[in-house]
């Protein structure tokens, strides 16, 4: 009978491995190490939701599904989850409106290089193209805003597509990958294959190791620099905690100052004396001045975004530029560089440090001392100072106190988009990577609240705060309901100035103080709103009571909406006006003549 058994055994295996498309999705996610999905059910994904239900019954909750209130919330929550853990965020939504609602978060993930896998339901294969109920050309719509996407028409392709999607989303420059699965493909059966058993159909193979000769040339330039600067970005965070550790080591070896983009905050500790603060439009005077005056710039995982460079023809005119980026198309796109290195930041930094040590390079202490004296002069301008007040809460003060009262706790910060986001970047001092979640490239108002949901899911015991504006937060306000449902004690710290602050600031500076539709006349009572959702509402408008109120917020083990009433007309400074160079910043002391600092040409720019 042994012969009989040996013949039967493989057949049994195949039978076990035969699953419906929906079960393949669930099994594929589990085999990819996914523990959480953010989603919203609908007609075209019901088979997958059924498979989730049955898997929960059979195997316990291996795959936790977080029910959001809007599909955009699912994508931002997945981004928050991904950015705070380094793992891909997973989204499950239905066809048509489910998919189109998810678009904003997908584009956001593309712009900010967040690994994300989005699974969308689709109408059955035979109905595609008939304008069926809840049909949308999801792969057509998302082709331009995903790293890659798939329409799966045969269940047999599903195991390969799922594993390939995770591979593409998480390697190279990370980004969103979408899998559109028609309902009949979810019902049909096929054999399941695990991640190591499938053969990828694409020749995708991103380069991570920097060119050795280029890396050596870069290190030689850095060693001989008189006025070097590190200009680091989100690529360092994406390269993992090791990249941040290596950046710290290399910065210490070279003695060079470090500045960072919005996306890169936390890779280098704000407490380090070599830290200059963020650069760019609302960056510090010392960071922008040092970028303008440096002789060797080491751009590490940053992409010379227009918010960073300001006026391109006057951008750091006298420097040799080294650019390390995993995405070859980011190099020489906006700014020509002298030493382009395509590679992963961690890998290249490791090689740089090895060469520095092997060659016995020493930082040029004499030149560096002069450079640091110059930087200290810039620092002495105190570009972030603001007029304190005893009667009204200054937004900068609110962030300073929030930082002071939370810095010793295990904390994560998300933001919405606008003035509050810039103040958070300026005044909250990040010491570690993956602690700061913000929408940089796309600038999505409404990002912070759902992102906080995703972060809190991944870090249940940590303090997760969304630093928000009263306008932004209303775009995805309904996700507080998600937080209440899952007992997520997120804190929504609203700097409430009743204005779309950044819009108001631009209208003041650029449009003759004509405040067109930037004032919110009918704001909700945020305390009552919190209570209506089953969360806790706190309001504070007196600077003297702020510390106590923040402490109360921190100590509340439930979701909190904190309505922090702040100075209404405060401007976010310093600022590089549109069309100006890094050395033409408006500082707080120039505020009196703000309306004259931007010329006609600058007014045309974004």
């Amino acid at each position: 009978m042994t012969a009989h058994q040996t013949i039967k055994a493989p057949e049994a295996t195949v039978a076990q491995r035969e699953m419906t498309g929906a079960q393949i999705v669930v099994q594929g996610l589990i085999d990819q190490g996914v523990d959480t999905i953010f989603g919203y059910p609908g007609g075209a994904v019901l088979p997958i939701y059924d498979a989730l239900f049955q898997d929960d019954e059979a195997n316990g909750a291996r795959l936790r599904h977080i029910l959001v209130r809007h599909e955009q919330g699912a994508t931002h929550a997945a981004e928050g989850y991904a950015r705070s853990t380094g793992k891909p965020g997973v989204v499950l939504v239905t066809s048509g409106p489910g998919a189109t609602n998810a678009i904003t978060g997908i584009v956001d993930a593309l712009m900010d290089s967040i690994p994300m896998v989005v699974i969308t339901g689709q109408v059955p294969t035979h109905l595609i193209g008939t304008d069926a109920f809840q049909e949308a050309d999801t792969v057509g719509i998302t082709r331009a805003c995903t790293k890659h996407n798939y329409l799966v028409k045969d269940t047999a392709d599903l195991p390969r597509v799922i594993h390939e999607a995770f591979h593409i989303a998480t390697t190279g420059r990370p980004g969103p990958v979408l899998i559109d699965i028609p309902k009949d493909v979810q019902f049909a059966k096929a054999e399941y294959f695990g991640p190591k058993e499938v053969k990828f159909s694409h020749a995708y193979n991103p380069r991570t190791k920097g060119d050795a000769a280029k890396v050596a040339e870069a290190v030689r330039l850095i060693a001989h620099a008189q006025r070097p600067i590190f200009y680091t970005g989100g690529g360092v965070i994406n390269a993992g905690p090791k990249a941040s550790a290596l950046l710290r080591e290399f910065a210490a070896l070279t003695g060079a100052p470090v500045t960072s983009t919005l996306m890169g905050l936390g890779a280098f500790p704000a407490a380090d004396p070599q830290w200059l603060g963020m650069l760019g439009m609302h960056g510090t005077f010392e960071a922008n001045s040092a970028m303008h005056g440096c002789d060797v710039m080491i751009a590490m995982g940053s992409r010379f975004d227009d918010r960073v460079t300001g006026r391109l023809d006057a951008f750091s005119p006298g420097s040799k530029k080294i650019h390390v980026d995993i995405d070859a198309s980011s190099i020489n796109k906006n700014v020509r560089v002298d030493v382009p290195i395509v590679g992963d930041c961690a890998s290249v930094l490791e090689d740089m440090i090895a060469i520095w040590k092997a060659k016995g390079y020493q930082a040029n202490r004499q030149a560096l001392d002069g450079w640091w004296r110059q930087i200290d002069e810039w620092r002495a301008r105190q570009c972030l100072r603001y007029r304190p007040s005893d009667t009204v809460i200054k937004p900068q003060y609110a962030i300073e106190r929030l930082y002071a009262l939370t810095k010793d706790r295990d904390h994560y910060i998300t933001t919405e988009v606008g003035q509050h986001q810039m103040w958070a970047a300026q005044f909250f001092r990040f010491q570690e990577p993956n602690r700061w979640m913000t929408s940089g490239g796309l600038g999505t108002m409404g990002y912070g609240l759902p992102a906080a949901v995703g972060v809190q899911i991944a870090h249940p015991g940590s303090l997760v705060i969304d630093i928000a504006g009263e306008a932004s937060v209303q775009m995805t306000m309904q996700e507080i309901s998600t937080a209440v449902q899952y007992d997520l004690p997120i804190k929504i710290f609203i700097l409430n100035n009743e204005w779309m602050g950044m819009v108001r600031q631009w209208q003041q500076l650029l449009h003759g103080e004509r405040y067109s539709h930037s004032y919110s006349e009918s704001l909700p009572d945020f305390v009552k709103l919190a209570e209506a959702y089953g969360a806790v509402g706190i309001r504070c408008e007196d600077p003297a009571e702020l510390d106590a109120a923040i402490t109360r917020m921190i100590d509340t083990p439930r979701p909190v909406i904190f309505d922090c009433r702040v100075e209404k007309a405060e401007n976010c400074l310093p600022m590089i006006p549109s069309g100006k160079a890094h050395n033409e910043m408006i500082l707080p002391s120039d505020e009196a003549d703000l309306s004259t600092v931007i010329d006609a040409a600058g007014r045309r720019l974004v």
Partner: protein, 184 residues
């Protein structure tokens, strides 16, 4: 674009800068799957690159690959960016800059309908002979010519046919391959 300054003020002003533009031909080997042409064309449309001509067809059924030849125009740094962006598309296997390759060969095929009688008709036939165009259809008052060659040759042929009664023109767009024994 800004008319008050002559220098670019930010990334938003970059397209306004007057720069010397070159023509470039890129040959792409892509995975033959639905939507792959849209990925390439959408990239050009979305980033504001020009497409002067585009040809696409499956070239290897077993390997599931198609070849796209795309002719574009732009400043050198734009062409460099186009190539980098094309390489980033997951479905694109190979990108070859045919224009910068001294061994690159480019050809185009055109079908040209000319209507005329008498002297014009004779002249059309004579010009076609010089250009080594083939007559693939004729009526008592018309010809359809088939001509292959580099695009400038086809341009000159068409210009010569215009006064002789050019009625209709159909061009494939540029195809390319490398001289020598090696494949792409």
């Amino acid at each position: 674009m800004s008319d008050t300054t002559t220098q670019p003020a930010s990334a938003y002003d970059m397209p306004g800068v007057q720069e010397v533009e070159n023509v470039a031909t890129f040959a792409l080997l892509v995975d033959n799957e639905p939507g792959v042409l849209h990925r390439v064309v959408g990239l050009f449309a979305g980033r504001g690159y020009n497409i002067e001509s585009l040809t696409v067809a499956e070239t290897d059924r077993r390997a599931h690959t198609s070849r796209i030849t795309i002719v574009t125009r732009g400043a050198p740094h734009v062409l460099e960016q186009i190539e980098a962006q094309l390489r980033k598309v997951v479905s694109v296997r190979r990108v070859h800059d045919v224009t910068r390759d001294p061994n690159g060969v480019e050809r185009e095929l055109a079908l040209v309908k000319v209507r005329g009688t008498g002297g014009d008709r004779v002249e059309a036939l004579r010009v076609a002979d010089i250009f080594r165009a083939k007559v693939i259809d004729t009526t008592s008052e018309s010809f359809v010519f088939e001509i292959t060659g580099a695009s400038p040759k086809i341009d000159s042929f068409v210009e010569l046919m215009r006064p002789l009664g050019l009625v209709e023109l159909s061009r494939t767009g540029v195809l390319s391959i490398e001289r020598g024994a090696e494949g792409m």
